[in-house]
């Protein structure tokens, strides 16, 4: 009963290419860079394995807001900040090991919920431009974070350890050593497979998160989110509390970003107190888009493919740049330029398609009911 093997038609190839142009561009650049980087396969694989553990969780935190039609949650950096505050307390109180990480999560959780709730409220007032608003919200909260960590900690918020306080007596130092919790999750269950070290406990946590997301999609709340992602007006008339559900999507995303940032930092082993979160949203967004996700649709495979591809490029491009142009700096600029361009391109392609669809729909509408008045703009969506 097998269908006879058929060569893919030119149209189908073109369609596939158009759907995956971001991935394809990225793949070809990386394919060129891998051999010219002169890195050994085992080095690249080991580095990729480490980076999966370090980054995948953070990227997963973007899934729910995309599902709820809110685009890429650049406001996830709020969660990252909450995680960092948790780690500051864990280090200050000398809670070490996995318990230190758990403690950081527990401290970060209420902060992340609060920040996520604020972000959700703000984004509900910025319908149609959630992404740029979330991005700026990250900047705004960066100021608040700096105020809390640089001025209040040690002054109003009790910090006991002098080792992490600035010499003026308040404020946390620019670099926070995370020796007490360094790689404690990665080392919890280490599997040596041939020449490779696999941080199984970290992978387990990531796998549990993936399962959670699979399960969550089937719950009532998950279904609501998907419905809202399809059409807010219809969902509202179907009795789904649109605003509340959107807020919940952001709260959960912020919580996950908080945990993700803690996992990320425990692997790094130290923390740039005031900068560690600034690139978080950018990396996560680039990863999920490189994985073939769009602003409106993202899946677990998108995350897994994207983390692998993005980080493969981050590993191989600087040495390739050094060999091809005699400057690793060029490679570093190149990978940043690529990541920014990928985000721009993916967002643009999505907007483009959406507009094309809307226009063809409108053309159809116009044909059916000629002279129909332009439908009123939805609340606050005009740009």
């Amino acid at each position: 009963m097998k269908t006879p093997f058929k060569l893919p038609s030119a149209a189908r190839v073109r369609r596939f290419a158009a759907d995956n142009v971001v991935v394809l561009i990225f793949l070809s650049v990386t394919a060129i860079a891998v051999p010219s980087s002169n890195l050994s396969a085992s080095y690249i694989i080991q580095d990729l394995l480490t980076r999966y553990g370090r980054n995948a969780f953070l990227v997963f935190s973007l899934l729910l807001p995309i599902m709820a039609g809110m685009g890429i949650n650049f406001g996830m950096v709020l969660g990252a900040m909450a995680g960092e505050i948790g780690l500051i307390f864990a280090v200050d109180q000398g809670i070490a090991g996995v318990q230190g990480l758990l403690y950081a999560v527990l401290v970060g959780a209420p902060i992340a919920v609060l920040l996520g709730w604020i972000a959700g409220q703000v984004l509900n007032r910025a319908r149609g431009r959630e992404m740029v608003t979330g991005y700026i919200l990250g900047f705004f909260m960066d100021g608040v974070y700096q105020f809390v960590v640089l001025y209040l900690m040690g002054a109003i918020i009790p910090i006991t350890s002098k080792a992490i306080t600035l010499s003026r007596g308040y404020g946390i130092r620019n670099t926070l050593g995370l020796d007490s919790v360094r790689q404690s999750l990665d080392k919890l269950l280490k599997l040596e497979l041939g020449p490779f070290d696999l941080p199984m406990a970290t992978y387990l946590v990531i796998a549990l998160l993936a399962l959670f997301i699979v399960w969550f999609r089937r719950t009532k709340l998950g279904q609501d989110m998907r419905a809202i992602g399809q059409d807010q007006t219809v969902s509202h008339s179907a009795g789904i509390p649109v605003e509340r559900t959107r807020i919940l999507a952001i709260v959960i995303s912020t919580l996950l970003a908080m945990v993700g940032q803690i996992i990320f930092l425990q692997n790094m082993g130290n923390m740039a107190t005031y900068n560690a979160h600034r690139q978080t949203g950018f990396f996560a967004a680039a990863a999920i888009l490189v994985g073939g996700a769009s602003v409106a649709k993202a899946t677990i495979p998108n995350v897994l493919v994207g983390v692998g591809l993005l980080h493969l490029m981050y590993i191989v491009v600087p040495p390739a740049g050094a060999r091809l142009f005699g400057s690793a700096q060029i490679g570093e600029y190149f990978r940043d330029a690529m990541s920014y361009a990928v985000i721009a391109l993916a967002l643009a392609l999505h907007a483009w398609r959406k507009r094309a669809n809307a226009e063809s729909a409108r053309a159809g509408l116009r044909g059916a009911a000629s002279g129909a008045v332009q439908p009123a703009k939805t609340e606050g969506g005009a740009e």
Partner: protein, 166 residues
Amino acid sequence: MSGKEVAGAKAPRRIALRRVVALALVAAVYLGAGAWALISGKSHTILVDNKPVGGLEAFRLLEVSIGRQEPLELGRGERDKFAVQGQRHRVKIDLMNGTDPVEATIALPYDAKMVLLSLPKLVAGVEPAWEPFETGQDAPAPVADELPEELFGAAIDLAPPEAGAD
């Protein structure tokens, strides 16, 4: 907006009850996990000390281990340290003279950052064998503090940077 009201007002009592139970469960897990992390995760430094103290002789050579950590070898008058987590620890001392290793359990107070554990006292059964150890300064000498990089950096800087030095 309207969603909250709908959920709140029309929810039957059974769901309200379930919500309370769920909240209580979350709170219990949160507090339990917090307590576990705080107690068992608290790190202490134990200095193991093989010096004569209070009329007790130091040992010529010994091997000491705490919990499952790698044993350390101490000669006469030597001192080393273990980084541990939690407050109760099993200390094992092998005097390397053919006798059975001495085992003892010590319990530290929660807020002791660093304690000095005298091994001669421990072997002789003096209680407590440890004493708090104050370094006087728990921080390394403060290096020049760097302040965070500015968010918009050059974009809104008033003072010109150092002229294009290479």
